[in-house]
Amino acid sequence: MKRVYPVEDYCMGCGLCEVACATEHSKSKDIVKAYKEEAVTPRNFVERKEYLSYSINCRHCEEPSCIEACITGAVDFDEDGRVLIDQARCVACWSCIMACPFGVIKRDTVNNVSTKCDQCVERETPACVQACPNRALIYEER
Amino acid sequence: MTTIDAKGVYYKQLNEQIKEAVANGAKRIKLTNVMGQYYIADGITGDASIEIEGVPGQDLAAFMNGPTIVVKNNAQDTIGNTMDSGKIVIHGLAGDVLGYGMRGGKMHILSDVGYRVGIHMKSYKEKVPVIIVGGNAGDFFGEYMAGGVLILLGINPVREEMPICGDYLGTGMHGGVMYIRGKVDIDRCGAEVGLDKLDAMDKKLLKRYLEDYCKDFDLDINEILKEEFTKVYPKSKRPYGTLYCY
């Protein structure tokens, strides 16, 4: 399965991946509106410490703790092996957030549900990968 | 011992013969009747030792990496140019611009050296080039020095009346250290250097370098150490840091 991998050596910590993610998952798909009117939450985030930085998001694990932890069955694999959250079934118990060893599941405070990377199911290349100006995110099978 | 007679041989052929001997595994090579041939032992890597009878020409041991060279007589200019490692021992005096850009190895000279010796010597980690001059040195000794050790003894000068070192000592020096036997006149030094007494560590180092030197020339180290040395050091790693504005 293809996953998004960060390349620490060339991540310059700009955060364009976050902007791209937030916009992609907004209703308007417009950057300014998404940020100013929708209060979106990016599903990936850039870790920065001194000169180190990299963008992380859901690893779409083969044996995900989040699926095991979810009390309503809202978190599950899709047919391609992606781990997705069905937000309609999410009851905001935050079990998945606590279970995730990578800390990549976030609270969507506006809608009060868990949210995380869905690999932009409808796109050929996830938005974050396409947005990275320095090829520091790679979407590939390993 | 492989002996190569250099009489009437042009440097190109002579050096080819030397390189061939080294390639064939010769560990001790003797060059006889050397008369000013350039580039002897340039770029040679390994642990061969080369003994030279006669006066070798310019750029002796340039880019050399490992071998030991013993010159039985005087030598000319630009010895040990950008030399990497190895050892050069000269039983006489030598000319200008010795050890330019030298980055490792040792050069021991029994008597005087000319102008601009030890220019831009540099050291990196375990590689510390050392030049020890038994006689006097000309101007610009250690100019632009970026690392390594220069030791000037003044004990075997050809002309007793000349000062031990010339003018502009250590101009632009920004690394390494010099030990000079006796007093140094700060007015003859570059603006970038400071003078000091040797501390315990300096003395230890100096003794170690001199022991090796004395062995090469059969000299008495105690005699040499009788006189106080002056330490010449760079005041800054960045002598020209405030030179610019933008």
Binding site: Y10, Y35 | Y39, T45, A62, F63, Y144, G172, L243, Y246
Partner: protein, 508 residues
């Protein structure tokens, strides 16, 4: 003036941020290595300090909503054509510091003519046909190195073979090389990009005087290693791993002076490669201290040949100065295989402004006079001429070749292709585009994979254009263009300039 120097009180640029578009993502703030952008957490607004802006336009490029534009400060000193604003500001700076004005890159003033722009190329019509480079063979291969005046052959077993023993040559598939920019002045990632692109395109890049990082030894066959007065990173291995060696005497941007790589740029890796301790200034003296005369140059040329068993051609690089022609003749006779001329408009990481703007001559004139002088002396074959310092496009390449160059070096164009916007602050080590910096967080901005692609594309693109141009003149091999001044015409040049360039005025 509050907390600012006098000169900083007059901002050169103004950062315009459109608040309607700003989404407070703070990318501009993170990308600005000069801290011109900031964020006021309490009030949740972006802030800016115009006087810190160097107009690199990194923030503008990175802003996802296009909210930022950088513009020149319209506020002007009282107009004075003689005492320009820059004259006044330079004096303010020097009055405050007592230092030498330092600048990066080539001269931006444009006060001297760019002769390339005043020369036009020929094309074939009817009597000799132009050649379609897309369908027909079109050859750019170039060999750099000393050539004999004539060849001798021998016949053995009914076959003719070459008897003359040729000296080593550099084989180029395009007449373009990446010029000397040292590791240290620019960072490792850019060097990796140049090394890989050179190998891929069959050309060479020049290490500059900062040594060669060990990890780049595998690209040695496409590398020209430089030996400059500082002798940084020079040893037998370095010399032997390379395809060619260049003795740097001078540089077009700063003829006659040495170089100082500031200690800030000397990090661990740079220090290892240059073989000097980290944090020290890397000082290159103005002269090579083993070259005070032409015979000394000969001595160094042959020392390098001896150290490499005569298998590498040796180039000597000089800045284009008033009597380049005579100097060039001496260099050729001293045994150089390649002569590199670097012109007045050449770039640099750092040079005193007074030198950059006032010393040297344009490359076109130097090239023309050197090529002619060597021809007059009958020794043009003995050397290849490579020119740099102001090559901006494939047209410049063709014009340089028509004037007599064998190949060109591109430096500024190389950097521009990987993102440089010519903000000319290379010497601060804070290059926002991640090029002229060794800062770990900034140099990451160059991904060598992308750099390699861009550099290769540039060479390929220029190569295609060169083929179009020479094909249009009915030539299918670059050697027929080389020195063919007959295919150049001058526009708006004086008779003496035309005479030096050896070209006719357009229309004649």
């Amino acid at each position: 003036m509050l907390y600012k120097s006098f000169v900083d009180s007059f901002s050169d640029y103004i950062i315009d941020r459109n608040e309607d578009k700003c989404i407070l993502c703070r990318i501009c703030e993170r990308q600005c290595s000069y801290e011109a952008h900031g964020f006021d957490k309490k009030n949740s607004v972006m802030t800016k300090q115009d006087h810190k802006c160097i107009c690199c336009r990194r923030c503008e490029a990175m802003c996802p909503t296009g909210a930022i534009s950088i513009r020149e400060n319209p506020s002007q000193f009282k107009r004075n054509s003689n005492w320009t604003a820059s004259h006044r500001k330079n004096i303010y700076k020097q009055a405050e510091t007592g230092g030498i004005l330092l600048v990066g890159m080539g001269n931006p003033t444009g006060k001297q003519p760019t002769y390339f722009d005043r020369m036009l190329l020929d094309a074939s019509q009817v009597t000799n046909p132009s050649i379609d480079p897309l369908r027909e063979p079109m050859e750019l291969r170039t060999y750099l190195g000393r050539k004999p005046d004539r060849l001798e052959f021998e016949e053995k077993d009914g076959r003719v073979s070459l008897k003359t023993k040729l000296t080593p040559q550099l084989k180029l598939e395009y007449p373009i090389m990446f010029s000397a920019m040292s590791y240290g002045a620019i960072n490792y990632n850019v060097h990796v990009g140049m090394a890989r692109a050179s190998q891929k395109m069959g050309i060479y890049y020049n290490t500059g005087e900062g040594g060669l990082h060990k990890s780049l030894y595998p690209y040695g066959a496409n590398t020209i290693v430089q030996v400059a007065s500082g002798r940084f990173g020079v040893n037998a291995e370095y010399l032997n791993v390379a395809g060619g060696i260049e003795i740097k005497i001078g540089q077009g941007a700063k003829p006659g002076i040495g170089g100082h790589l500031p200690g800030e740029k000397v990090n661990e890796e740079v220090s290892r490669t240059r073989m000097i301790p980290a944090g020290t200034d890397a000082l290159s003296p103005a002269p090579h201290h083993d070259i005070y005369s032409i015979e000394d140059l000969r001595q160094l040329i042959y020392a390098l040949k001896e150290a490499t068993d005569y298998k590498n051609p040796v180039s000597v690089k000089i800045a284009a100065v008033h009597n380049s022609a005579a100097i060039a003749s001496g260099i050729v006779r001293a045994g150089a295989d390649i002569l590199t001329l670097d012109g007045y408009r050449g770039g640099t990481g750092a040079a005193p402004l007074v030198t950059r703007n006032n010393v040297g001559i344009p490359i076109e004139l130097a090239l023309a006079s050197v090529d002619q002088r060597l021809r007059d002396e009958g020794i043009r074959n003995h050397v290849s001429i490579v020119v740099g310092g102001g090559i901006r496009s494939s047209a410049d390449v063709v014009k340089a070749i028509a004037l007599g160059a064998d190949a060109v070096y591109i430096g500024t164009a190389t950097l521009v292709s990987v993102g440089c916007t010519l903000c000319r602050m290379c010497f601060t080590g804070k290059c926002p585009w991640g090029i002229a910096t060794n800062d770990q967080s900034l140099s990451k901005r160059i991904n060598p994979d992308i750099a390699e692609e861009k550099l290769s594309n540039l060479i390929r693109g220029w190569g295609l254009e060169i083929k179009e141009i020479i094909g249009g003149m009915g030539l299918n091999a670059l050697e027929s263009m080389r020195g063919s001044r007959h295919r150049l015409r001058g526009v708006g040049l004086s008779e003496s300039e035309l005479d030096i360039l050896g070209i006719a005025p357009a229309g004649k």
